[in-house]
């Protein structure tokens, strides 16, 4: 990997301020407290702004995630310079980078989806257009939020594929912002195509009468046993989780051993795709074992569409221990061979996910203001889970893990950058 192509976040040198595990625990508690505060202010149905209606707030949560991925993985923090990233106090830097994240989210939702596509192309991307067609304001906003959040969900699966699997090939030698914009345009193009195939048919059946002239009949009905796009939401989420697995748990092993592009990218993508379906089937099977097979037309626990969605929800839950281990506990262990390290990390993540799952369903009603029970047609555990992840990413990407860690000073940094130059 040439240095030009490496991400600032990968080359930065974080120094601990405290010893582990104390440092990780304090930092994790802080970010969790911050997540709970943000949830209470913006989302909690008992809280202040109450955007978790549910789809409306969930939409913003999804876009925060993809906007952050774009900022760091595709644009490598452009337009912010290395000097800014290296020297600003983490709190001020965090404020500015989080601020720009919010601006991107607002632009994509309000300008790109609502004003542009919603007005000129697809009515369900703008609640006002739907209201104008006679829909109640509430459901107009819910339906459009679902569509808009799905665009972000698909992007969060496809966008990281380029930097992570393809090393931005064939644009690795471009400088920012040319590279960022090129990769962004390319991956967003793929995202829009995937959206049209995976989610647009959902809207064929969502409206009454059916919109058969505008969208294809859900082609997955035969094998998914549901017309709902939740089938695709489920496996796409497993895809997002797979790419994080490859990046955070596997350290891109064994893909990183292939030196040639685009071979490495193609195999990497197939790896992510296969892993996604493996996770998807495994969770479907687990649910069949727990509750018995799904029944066509049933609701809640037995609804085929909910079962698919729940695979995605369960997969997303794995992200919390995955990121906790990587960001807060230095991706322990590192001392064995790659396959042993990965196996130990996976075991930790599986066990921790089981514990988190138990705690989530037991304590989320009093803590998050959600309702008890596994299956609620208007409740998505992915929303709080992804908001929590967003806060971790803000912390890790935008704030140098303040206060548990700090950026190395220039003096400390010098040998490290030499080392990187050598490796390249």
């Amino acid at each position: 990997m040439n240095q030009n192509n490496s991400l600032w976040v990968e080359t930065r040198d974080l120094q601990p301020r405290l010893k582990q595990p104390l440092q990780g625990i304090i930092n994790l508690l802080l970010v969790t407290a911050f997540f709970l505060l943000v949830w209470w202010i913006f989302m909690d149905p008992r809280g202040i702004i109450r955007w978790y209606t549910p789809q409306y707030g969930y939409m913003y949560i999804r876009w925060i995630l993809i906007a952050a991925i774009w900022q760091v993985y595709i644009f490598n923090y452009w337009p912010f310079k290395d000097s800014f990233l290296n020297n600003k106090h983490p709190l001020i830097k965090g404020l500015i980078l989080i601020g720009s994240n919010i601006v991107i989210v607002a632009f994509m939702v309000w300008v790109f989806c609502y004003a542009f596509l919603g007005n000129l192309s697809i009515p369900y991307l703008n609640p006002k257009v739907l209201t104008g067609l006679g829909m109640t304001e509430f459901f107009a906003r819910e339906y459009s939020s679902l569509a808009i959040l799905m665009m972000a969900a698909i992007a969060s699966w496809l966008s990281p594929v380029w930097p992570v699997c393809f090393d931005n090939h064939p644009w690795q030698n471009l400088t920012q912002p040319a590279r960022g914009f090129t990769v962004w345009v390319w991956t967003f193009f793929l995202t829009l195509i995937a959206f049209l195939i995976l989610m647009h048919p959902h809207y064929h059946v969502l409206f009454y009468p059916w919109q058969e002239y505008a969208a294809a009949y859900p082609w997955w009905y035969g094998f998914a046993r549901t017309l709902s796009g939740n089938f695709n939401v489920g496996w796409v989420m497993c895809g997002t989780v797979s790419i994080w697995f490859l990046e955070l748990v596997f350290d891109r092993y064994p893909i990183r051993l292939i030196k040639k592009q685009p071979l490495r990218g193609i195999i990497g993508f197939l790896f992510v795709f296969t892993m996604a379906w493996l996770i998807f089937f495994a969770f479907l099977f687990l649910q069949d074992v727990s509750w018995g097979p799904a029944v066509e037309g049933a609701k809640r626990l037995y609804a085929p569409d909910w079962r698919h969605l729940h695979c995605g929800e369960l997969a997303c839950m794995m992200l919390i221990p995955m990121m906790t281990l990587h960001f807060y506990f230095d991706n322990w262990p590192k001392k064995y061979s790659p396959s042993i390290n990965i196996a130990i990390r996976c075991a930790i993540i599986f066990i921790a996910t089981g514990i988190l799952h138990y705690l989530y369903y037991k304590y989320s009603p009093p803590i998050l203001g959600t309702q008890p029970g596994y299956s609620h047609p208007q409740q998505f555990p992915m929303a709080p889970v992804i908001l929590w992840i967003n806060m971790m990413l803000y912390h890790y990407w935008f704030m140098d893990m303040y206060p548990g860690k700090r950026l190395a000073t220039r003096k400390e940094r010098l040998p490290v950058s030499n080392l990187i130059a050598e490796e390249a």
């Binding site: 149905p45 955007w51 459901f139 292939i258 099977f285 609804a303």
Partner: protein, 361 residues
């Protein structure tokens, strides 16, 4: 260098591939499925038999202006906000009842037993007390309550439109036995005792003095010969939890299911009946709210239900209320036997049973 990395890569791929293959094969093999997935149970609880049913729709118009109701929810913060926290619009609604958007749901179920005797169950008690009382008077429920003709009040769930009009029932008979599903919140019990909730414009000025039973979930409650109820542990919009439905075993016909809102889903409910009640695979009729498109909203998942309902061999369907007009139209289009109504007493359309309509099974 590249040789080593190729070997390393192949090794990694071999390890990962083998693990993946076995996981995949394991998950999809029939041996695994048969040994891990619990087999479907066959209903074993015998609830006896009854002869016939007369179902009178007292009121199925839970609210009069759907857009206003949705607006109340939107302003309050959406579908998960506690119903007792929402200031529901109760003034200035042109198509409402005396300006109030609140209506309610209440049905009278009269069972005839094999010996010719009968019992009456009041299923739910509306929302707006004045509207419910007016409907009660129209159908003579006030007198039936006062002279003890009605055996019990069966509250399907704690939702505003099914339970908040409790005063309309209690003012005629404060000691009526009441059955509520497991999952009622403290506010619901307080309302029964005569509490006031000014924020959501809710009050009950006649405390309940009779027996109150909370129906546990996960079991069949036998009420009378041929009559049982089942409670489902379901979380429901506006922070309600739990709903119960009535099951009747009609001699020579089959099972009839009568619901309030059916938030558990009608197919989920029938599947559960199949697995718990003897003869549970022979459905004859359903009646009540089916909670599909109560707000004339839609989700492709609801089409799954419409398309699958054919498999249950229902001879007659008396759906109304939160079934929604869109759903009813779809039912009719694909040929399901929906019983028509007469569109009287503020019921808007005759596509399904409305206020004052009767279904005899």
């Amino acid at each position: 260098m590249s040789d080593i990395s190729r070997r390393e890569f192949l090794k990694g791929l071999a390890v990962g591939g083998t693990v993946g293959y076995f996981a995949m094969a394991g998950v999809s093999s029939t041996v695994m499925r048969n040994s891990f997935i619990p087999p479907a149970k066959v209903g074993a609880v015998d609830i006896g038999e009854c002869k016939s049913l007369k179902i009178k729709v007292i009121t199925e118009t839970s609210w009069f202006n759907n857009a206003l109701l949705m607006d109340d929810m939107k302003k309050a913060g959406g579908l998960l906000v506690n119903q007792y926290e929402i200031p529901w619009t109760n003034k200035g609604v042109t198509e409402g009842w005396k300006g109030d958007n609140a209506g309610g749901y209440a049905t009278l179920v009269e069972v005839e037993f094999l010996d010719g005797s009968t019992k009456k169950i009041l299923l739910d008690t509306g929302w707006n007390v004045d509207w419910t009382d007016t409907c009660f008077k129209r159908e003579g429920i006030d007198k039936m309550l006062a002279n003890g003709e009605i055996d019990c009040l069966f509250v399907s769930h704690e939702h505003f439109d099914h339970f908040w009009g409790i005063e309309a029932t209690l003012k005629y008979r404060p000691d009526i036995p009441i059955l509520v599903p497991k999952g009622f919140y403290q506010e619901g019990f307080d309302l029964l005792k005569g509490a006031n909730f000014p924020k959501c414009h809710l009050a009950n000025n006649v405390p309940h003095t009779g027996p109150l039973k909370v129906q546990e979930s996960e079991k069949v409650h036998k009420l009378y010969p041929g009559v049982a109820s089942i409670t489902f542990d379901v979380p429901i919009i506006t922070r309600v939890f739990g709903e119960q439905a009535l099951v009747f075993n009609l001699k020579d016909k089959g099972l009839a299911i009568v619901t309030g809102c059916c938030h558990m889903g009608i197919i989920s409910l029938m599947e559960h009946v199949k697995q718990t009640i003897k003869g549970g695979d022979n459905f004859y009729a359903i009646q009540g709210g089916l909670h599909i498109s109560p707000f004339e909203d839609w989700d492709p998942q609801y089409d799954d239900l419409v398309l699958a309902l054919h498999n249950y061999g229902l001879k007659t369907m008396g759906c109304n209320h939160c079934t929604g007009y869109v759903t009813a139209e779809k039912f009719v289009t694909i040929g399901l036997p929906v019983v028509k109504g007469t569109a009287q007493h503020k019921s808007k359309r005759d596509i399904f049973l409305g206020n004052g309509d009767m279904m005899i099974i």
